[in-house]
Amino acid sequence: MSQQAVNGVSHRGRVLTLDSMNPNVKRVEYAVRGPIVQRAVQLEKELKEGVKKPFTEVIKANIGDAHAMGQKPITFFRQVLALCSYPALLEDSKFPEDAKQRARRILEACGGHSIGAYSASQGIECIRQDVAHYIEKRDGGIPSNPDNIYLSTGASDAIVTILKLLVCGEGRDRTGVMISIPQYPLYSAALADLGAVQINYYLDEDNCWSLNITELRRALSAAREHCNPRVLCIINPGNPTGQVQSRQCIEDVIRFAKEEHLFLMADEVYQDNVYAEGCQFHSFKKVLFEMGPEYSNTVEMASFHSTSKCYMGECGFRGGYMEVINLDPEVKAQLIKLVSVRLCPPVPGQALLDLVVNPPQPDEPSYATFMKERTAVLSALAEKARLTEQIFNTVPGITCNPVQGAMYTFPRVTLPQKAIDKAKELGLVPDMFYCMRLLDEEGICLVPGSGFGQREGTYHFRMTILPPTEKLKVVLQKIQEFQLRFTQEFS
């Protein structure tokens, strides 16, 4: 408290006030770490201080943070990273030879043989080459050029960078960006921050959250009235919905993008997280090239990947990359300039990415353990996905689409009118009210659907499927009990 305020003298105007602040910042919201999380943190503090609650711990099923929920890191990756951090360990016989080989190779590529040195802004060259090889292998041999690969600080960094390049114009000519509803709020936050126009297209809840070209067309023509739509964003597998797009759908989207002259942004960070029978990940790049030169030579696209999800779950390393296709060479030069301002992505994250795209091969000593660990993580997630869908669909008032992929479930909850009214009374969005009550009563932190977008009049919440299976079962049960109580209270 300033001395003046204490003395009762009116506070001299600050330079930075809500009025003088960048107005775009006010529009930025990020539900995943928004008010409900702040409340959760508050409750945790109270629990620590010994305050009695109807629960003994707050379960944070709000953010896709695998390790925080107990998922174990992949041993091989951590061994290599440890070797890179403290190269004296290269003499330690407890580390396998294949880990040491990779560490040496990475260190060789670093300035001064240290992960402490800055790297080139676009990322360490040999790592970009490895990423390109990985993409080629994944996509059945379709060539990938390392010059089109930009390493980044998680996928978010690359996504925002591309958006920065794409957003321009004033008034009716302002760039419009199409995003799916529901969406991962990084997009809406970034668009708000950049002052771009957000164009919502609704995924079809009744059809497993599938994407509908008719709906894309509707959204686009409506948007053309008031802005200049230039970008189409897709998250596949989806967040928060978990849907895995069919190959046909991806082709349709590419065709649509070409017809309507839209830049495609394909967020594919969950590409290894595919669980449902009959579902398969198809990369946008692969499909684009398989559609022939008419498309592969013209459609402009950026696809994104990261080390934070899949089976690695290494959010804290901030590793990621984007591959750009058919970008204008002059724009590429601007892109290089943009990324150089932030110097370089964290080098440990780059190193980790290198391991992800270049994991132990069948003939290497660490292969068996690596595959075991990887399979364990992915199959646990698949099991939890199935379990979650099954249990939620037995709860009256909750319906849940199959969790085909990613790490979340986005069930729909029917709220009694009285509850909706009560929420309004309290100045809360109804699903926020629901989630806050759930948090206060059961210590379970979810994110209300309003944070991701949903059709008017519908309510959802997003829950991660990351807690260990036993804990997840408890969480599901508690939500079930809460739902029954809540419905009764407001009947």
Binding site: L16, N22, A66, A82, Y86, A189, R318, R342
Partner: protein
């Protein structure tokens, strides 16, 4: 090629700190906690750090305040206490919410301050010379950079009269809202607390938000020089300043030598003082949407602030390594000053802080003309000099115009944080090249 273009110690061959690397490695691969190859304190420290991660893994994303409490304590401890000021300083420093980790340096977080849509446009006063990314960053955020010139004759000192002039020059062009200070400077300058006092007064009078980049705070060499943080100066000035001047100060592991100069970890923090609580809410959202900085980076920061103490097993080696780095740097700045000043047409102020030398090239008009004519692309003499120096001398430096300089003056910038033998070689090549150049273009 001797690459001294950037301030990257590891690339230049300086060795990392053993203790830091041991802890980072063990944090990454926890089975090392049981390894007898690592000293006990490194292993214990690892457990402490991992203990703060919810799932015990550095792979988790964590909200920007994970290490906050410890940081707070350390920073208060490092700030020498002083009588009646103690309480006030404590108030300023113990507000956990006011510390945010940021991996990319100040600019990407100042978007709250810089209103892209404002008319007239927002302005930020920046020093000349200055880190070259600054102007780019400001422009990217839609603001106008308003230069104020540091005084080369006075060892690159900041003069308040010059700030006044700069502010005047902005009239009709933009609306200056912030004053950016680099302390110690990049590429040059270190300010006394007296100067800090005057600057704060100026900021208070003219209603400017103070953005203070203090990433080089550990790199101070001058005999009578001491790093004094703006926050400390501010709190020592007492009311009305201490309670009203809005300040954001930045620090980072990239340039700290009690840390590790780990540029590649991209870790730093910003401390926000006297900000409007309503605005802080939004700043908090901005930080959380942009996802946390790497956990390893935060750990490195923590190690920087809380290094091994006397009595700890790693202390002696740690101290030795730090001293070694410091000795090299102190030696290097002396040598650079000696050698450059002994060469004709070349001068250098004493390097009192930071990681760079920014010597001045004195070229006659004839030489300038001749150089311009010879230069393939008619570039400026300093660029020409640097290009030639790279091609003929094999030393990669940066031309002064990239950092800003007074019209008609020419400089080059190079990093002085290289091993001693590399520095000798650099100076040898530089001298030899310089003599030839001066002869050819006299």
């Amino acid at each position: 090629v001797i690459d001294v273009f950037q301030g990257d110690l590891h690339k230049a061959g300086m060795k990392p700190l053993t203790f830091v690397r041991q802890v980072l490695a063990a944090c990454v691969y926890p089975p090392l906690i049981n390894s007898s190859n690592l000293p006990l304190d490194a292993r214990q420290r690892t457990q402490e750090e991992l203990g703060r991660c919810v799932g015990g893994s550095v792979g988790e994303g964590n909200v920007c305040g994970l290490m906050t409490w410890k940081k707070m304590k350390m920073l208060v401890v490092q700030d020498p206490q002083g009588g009646a000021e103690k309480t006030h300083r404590t108030q300023l420093s113990l507000l956990c919410d006011n510390y945010y980790f940021c991996g990319f340096g100040p600019w990407l977080r100042t978007q709250a301050l810089l209103n892209r849509e404002a008319s007239p446009r927002t302005g930020v006063l920046i020093p000349v010379p200055c880190h070259n990314k600054t102007v780019l960053s400001i422009m990217q955020l839609g603001a106008v950079a308003v230069p104020y010139y540091l005084s080369e004759e006075q060892g690159w000192a900041l003069q308040v009269e010059e700030l006044q002039r700069a502010l005047e020059s902005a009239k009709g062009v933009c609306n200056p809202v912030a004053l950016y200070i680099i302390n110690p400077g990049n590429p040059a300058g270190i300010y006394s607390s007296q100067c800090g006092d005057q600057v704060i007064r100026f900021a208070w009078e003219k209603r400017l938000f103070l953005l203070v980049d203090e990433v080089y705070q550990d790199c101070v060499y001058g005999e009578n020089c001491e790093f004094v943080s703006y926050k400390r100066t501010l709190s020592e000035m007492g009311p009305p300043f201490s309670g009203t001047v809005e300040l954001a100060s930045f620090h980072s592991v990239s340039k700290s030598f009690s840390g590790e100069y780990v540029c590649g970890l991209r870790a730093g923090y910003v401390e926000l003082v006297n900000l409007d609580p309503a605005v802080m809410k939004y700043i908090h959202t901005l930080f959380s949407k942009d996802s946390c900085e790497t956990v390893l980076g935060q750990i490195a920061l923590d190690l920087m602030m809380d290094p091994p103490k006397p009595g700890d097993p790693s202390y002696l080696l740690y101290k030795q390594e730090i001293e070694q780095i410091r000795t090299v740097l102190v030696h290097n700045v002396k040598r650079v000053h000696e050698v450059v000043n002994s060469l004709p047409g070349f001068s250098c102020s004493p390097i009192e802080g930071g990681l760079f030398a920014f010597p001045r090239l004195h070229l006659t008009p004839k030489a300038i003309q001749k150089a311009k004519v010879t230069a393939e692309m008619q570039e400026d003499p300093d660029t020409f000099y640097c290009t030639r120096l790279l091609e003929e001398g094999g030393v990669f430096t940066g031309p002064g115009w990239e950092y800003g300089q007074k019209e008609g003056t020419y400089h080059i910038r190079f990093c002085i944080a290289v091993p001693q033998d590399v520095m000798e070689e650099l100076l040898r090549r530089l001298s030899s090249f310089h003599m030839t150049f001066m002869k050819d273009f006299s």
